[in-house]
Amino acid sequence: MDLYAQNILDRYRTPFFKDKKIKADLKRHEANHSCGDAVDISLSTKGGKVIDFSFTGAGCAISMAAADMLGELVTGMMEDEILKLTKDDIYKMLGIEISMRRSKCALLGLITLQNAILAEQKKPLKTWGDY
């Protein structure tokens, strides 16, 4: 059986950012209830820049690997740049074909991250339709 690319499987089994202890000033929980994936993202920021990232969650390999890889992508990034990230950026980061039925798995981390920032900025939150 060959379900997922090796990079996805590796990050699912051995994540870098899962349960990492950081001094968080932003936190957000989002879930995809149709499939039962849930993610909590914590960020440590300084002057609008993400300096540390951590997540916890329970979900499928794609949702967990995507959340973990997101940590690498956004550490050092400005909040405004993070808000500009799109579905395509995430698919490129994952480096695999994402079928329609798995798109929410791939994007759960991003929506959680962007809503963490939007909530802090007191701006309207993103919904799945925005992607």
Partner: protein, 399 residues
């Protein structure tokens, strides 16, 4: 007898292994023919025609009602209301009956194994009227625990499933219904999962309301049934307003039509009702004793295979007592979606997720389950293929 050959999808997709009949069943040729036949040679609107073609359509539509009525052993065909699906049927009851007869502080008793469609309409009624919701518990083995103390003088309504769409559990409804009636509460039975597997008898149950969808019963999507006792339907105000449900309309008031039209506003799904009749005729021709023999054998076979895999945890009854052919399971460390993806690579359709039963997932403290559900067209070979795939999935995540 091989019933698989009655279902054209298996000829058109020879590699298909369909283990998701609890989501929707496949359709036999007889149902496809009935739907096509209606549009091909009988199409016209019902209850309005001043010409023979419409009379024929009306007769076929009302004949479908009679078939449903006998299928569930209703006392009268007008106790059968055609809806879109079971969800709409429950909403009709919560809106029309709930708004008229339930008040602030009245208790509605549900169970923790209900589908969202039997929870949310009552949560909406709670928002509108301030009713109080209570829930019967589920045991760790997936059985319904009937605690009679939860039925009190304040209990005005009880809604309970006849078969859990997640656990496959078939609760013993009779004691619950008897206890509810003893305090004057009405009872709704959700027969959505059970109707295709076990005999439904509204009079033997003494159910006040009973709902199911056609599409899980080999019929088309878009046709559902609400059964209710005559006197209750007569007391209830109409649900949707429009054509066909009225007696007279004036500029400032209207009078509702008679049963069953009173609850069927607008042009109904005529072809769907005719398809549902064909599906019920098909089920009746086979008969529930044969259906149960086939399905129980498959279910027992699958449960036996699962028991040989120590990493599989069945969510629901692990034996054949009081259960139907709906089997949920989890594997520690492998999310249900990843399992479903693994099955999909082999052309095997299973369901993964929360199955519209989030309270039940919370109760079992699991994010989701994978679910295999069986029907008369499934085979042991298909179960063997599913088990081989499951072993591969396990090895893939635990090399």
């Amino acid at each position: 007898m091989n019933y698989r050959q009655d279902f054209p999808i298996f000829k058109n997709r020879p590699d298909l292994i369909y283990l998701d009949s609890a989501a929707t069943s496949q359709k036999p040729q007889a149902v496809l023919d009935a739907v096509y036949g209606f549009y091909k040679s009988m199409n016209s609107n019902v209850h309005r025609g001043t010409y023979p073609l419409s009379e024929e359509a009306t007769e076929a539509y009302e004949d479908a009602r009679k078939t449903v009525s006998s299928f569930i052993n209703a006392a009268h065909p007008h106790e059968v209301i055609f809806t879109r699906n079971a969800t709409e049927s429950v909403n009709l009851v919560a809106r029309a009956y709930g708004d008229a007869f339930l008040n602030k502080g009245d208790e509605v008793l549900l169970t923790k194994m209900e589908h969202h469609s039997s929870i949310v309409p009552w949560l909406q009624l709670k928002d509108r009227k301030g009713i109080v919701l209570k829930y019967l518990d589920v045991s760790k083995e997936g059985r319904l625990i009937f605690d009679p103390k939860l039925i009190t003088a304040k209990t005005k309504f009880v809604s309970v499933t006849a078969m859990s769409n997640v656990l496959g559990t078939i609760p013993d409804l009779k004691p619950i219904i008897t206890a509810a009636h003893a305090v004057g509460a009405k009872v709704l039975v959700d027969a959505c999962q059970s109707a295709v597997h076990i005999k439904t008898d509204v009079q033997a149950l003494d159910a006040d309301f009973l709902v199911f969808s056609g599409h899980k019963l080999y019929a088309p999507t878009g046709i559902g049934v609400l059964y209710a006792k005559t006197d209750i339907l007569n007391q209830m105000p109409p649900f949707l307003g429009g054509g066909d449900m009225i007696h007279e309309v004036f500029l400032d008031h209207f009078t509702p039509g008679e049963l069953p039209n009173k609850f069927e506003a607008g042009t109904p799904h005529i072809a769907g009702a005719i398809g549902l009749k064909a599906a019920i005729d098909y089920v009746n021709k086979i008969g529930f004793p044969v259906i149960q023999k086939i399905e129980n054998e498959l279910t027992e076979y699958l449960l036996g295979k699962f028991k040989a895999l120590p990493y599989v945890r069945i969510i629901g009854p692990a034996d054949m007592m009081g259960r139907g052919p709906v089997i949920s399971f989890v594997i520690e460390g492998i999310h249900a979606h990843d399992m479903a993806e693994g099955f999909a690579t082999k052309g095997i359709c299973i369901r993964a997720g929360q199955h519209c039963a989030q309270p039940l997932m919370d109760y079992f403290e699991i994010p989701a389950t994978a679910r295999i559900s069986l029907a008369i067209y499934n085979t042991k070979d298909e179960i063997d293929a599913a088990i081989r795939t499951l072993e591969e999935i396990y090895k893939y995540f635990n090399p």
